[in-house]
Amino acid sequence: MTSAVSARPKKNFNWKAIFQRPEKPYVHPYLGGALLGVVLFLAFFLTGNGLGASGGLNRVVVYVEDQFVPEHVDRNAYLLKMAGGDKNPLDDWIVPMIFGAIVGGFVSGWLNGRLKVETNKGPQISTRTRWFMAFTGGAIMGYGARMARGCTSGQALSGGATLSAGSWAFMFAVFAGAYALAYFVRKLWN
């Protein structure tokens, strides 16, 4: 409810005074959701595009690949579309968007006193296990997100708001996948 719960840092390396701002509680989920909805609407209204994240990360990956093995990129039909020849995979609207999101998250964390080097995890697992699980889960998520042609932001939020039939099917699949496994990995979180 209040910040008292999350204000108990396990490890706290507050290395600069400017980062030692008082920690504020998160906003109410409905308020956060409504604000997110307004941002999503503005994205569509102004640009015709929704929000996205995994697509931007994808382009960063392809950019790095293109630096080292450009011939390989030119032989792969999927990568070719983004970085074939002299095409710059970073030249796309979604790339400034993810960097904006990182800055936005950082500024909010700073203003609200939530910039803290820490690892959020359930009480029963070690920090290392959590890191390993975060990496593994991230890899699974990244793979699935590209297969589904979008992540929670690009498919569920954007496609959900524009009432794309496939995005709604996708959204229920995400929740189904997570709920189906939740019981078996409960030790990770509880």
Partner: protein
């Protein structure tokens, strides 16, 4: 219909990217203040203790949806021009299930992990690194099952198409479903999370009421149909017609057909019998009432070098069809000047089989007589572009549509 804005033409690329950067900033900021940088808060969703994920997500979806469709209903926003994720049903569902698994193991989704990393959470950092690895692995392995990955493609299909309901009806139903889910999640939080609902802000009921009223407003406003859409843009577009900026001469059509850089889609709006008597090779016959559906497909399969050329016996029916396609914001639509009659006057002059009707043809009537219904097997249906060197005033100017390259998560 000014929105969405053609940002690239309006601002140029660098400034357009600044706009996307600002939207991203707001996106990241809002995710952070909602607690999405904290994996524990996200994972709690799946143990019914704290339904923050569902509440934030669905509130965002329904708020954005109501605003989008209200703007569409008011005629401020063109729904045809906004990105609607195309449906690849099975890859979407299987990818979604895999993502769900990754979500409960890793505790984030890609967007939230970025925010978590930005606030120095180490699990967020590891998730981002894992995410990049997964994305890399996908790019390297998708070649092995590309056919499946591109299968079950339904294009731009919406819930309205699926259930044969109007925009407003779907908006109301989705809002009702979301409100029911919010009520349900609060009950779950009360039971599993031991949460005292009396401490929840009263304002949320007012918010729910506002959403519902907004959805009803969308329902009663309705969606502008083709006539209304045309009425809004008519002053500007009628000038194009009157100044004959969109009527291309037969010579330009022939040259464009031979131009490898262009993909010319010819749409013949005449009756089936006229079409069977004679049509230009490659022209596709289309009924007037199919034009709106066609416009949707054209939007979904957009490519910058596609040119649509409408034709009737003269120009009357083609001009009517032009108004429909333009009202549905299909880019690069043109009319064949003088229609098929003019085409035949130019290209069938040497063909002795094809003779003009004794009396001048009536309004939009075929002005020629054919010995047989050979369709496009007359020579005049496929004139040799190298043989015919015709003078014409070039009118085709490719107009780029708004930047929505890869779409959602592109």
């Amino acid at each position: 219909m000014p929105f969405p804005l053609p940002l690239e033409t309006l601002l140029g690329k660098p400034l357009m990217y600044v706009v996307f950067g600002l939207l991203g900033f707001a996106f990241g900021y809002v995710l952070e203040i909602s607690g999405f940088g904290n994996s524990k808060k996200l994972a709690a969703q799946f143990y019914f203790k704290e339904m923050t994920v569902l509440k934030v997500m669905f509130t965002a979806i329904v708020v954005a949806m109501v605003l989008i469709f209200a703007a569409v209903g008011l005629g401020l926003l063109d729904y045809n021009q906004i990105w609607v994720n195309p449906t690849y049903l099975w890859p979407g569902i299987v990818g979604g299930l895999i993502m769900g698994v990754g979500f409960i193991i890793g505790g984030f989704c890609p967007g939230t992990s970025l925010v978590s990393m930005a606030t120095f959470k180490l699990d967020g950092l590891f998730f981002v690194l894992g995410g990049l690895t997964g994305i890399f692995l996908f790019g390297e392995t998708v070649v092995f099952y590309e056919d499946w990955w591109n299968s079950s493609y339904y294009g731009r299909v919406t819930l309205m198409d699926l259930f044969h309901l109007s925009n407003g009806a779907v908006v109301v139903l989705v809002v009702l479903m979301a409100l029911f889910m919010f009520w349900g999640s609060e009950q779950l939080e009360r039971i599993f999370g031991k949460r005292d609902l009396k401490k929840e802000p009263r304002l949320r009921v007012a918010g729910a009421a506002m959403l519902f009223v907004g959805a009803l407003a969308v329902l009663f406003m309705g969606t502008p149909d083709v006539t209304e859409k045309w009425a809004r843009i008519a002053p500007e577009k009628e000038t194009l017609l009157a100044e004959r900026k969109v009527q291309i001469e037969p010579g330009e059509l022939l040259a464009s057909l031979a131009d490898d850089r262009l993909r010319v889609v010819m749409l013949d709006v005449r009756s089936e019998s006229d079409y069977n008597l004679f049509h230009i090779q490659g022209a596709r016959r289309i009924e007037f009432h199919q034009l709106t559906t066609f416009a949707k497909q054209a939007q979904a399969q957009y490519a910058p070098n596609v040119v649509y050329v409408l034709m009737s016996n003269d120009e009357a029916a083609a001009t009517e069809a032009w108004r429909v396609l333009v009202a549905e914001s299909v880019p690069n639509v043109y009319i064949l000047e003088g229609g098929i009659n003019n085409w035949l006057r130019v290209f069938a002059a040497d063909e002795s089989d094809i003779t003009p009707t004794p009396a001048p043809p009536g309004q939009d009537q075929l002005g020629y007589i054919f010995p047989a219904a050979l369709g496009s097997r007359y020579e005049a249906a496929f004139p040799d572009p190298h043989h015919w060197k015709l003078e014409y005033t070039p009118k085709i100017q490719l107009q780029l549509k708004r930047d929505k390259s890869g779409g959602g998560c592109g």
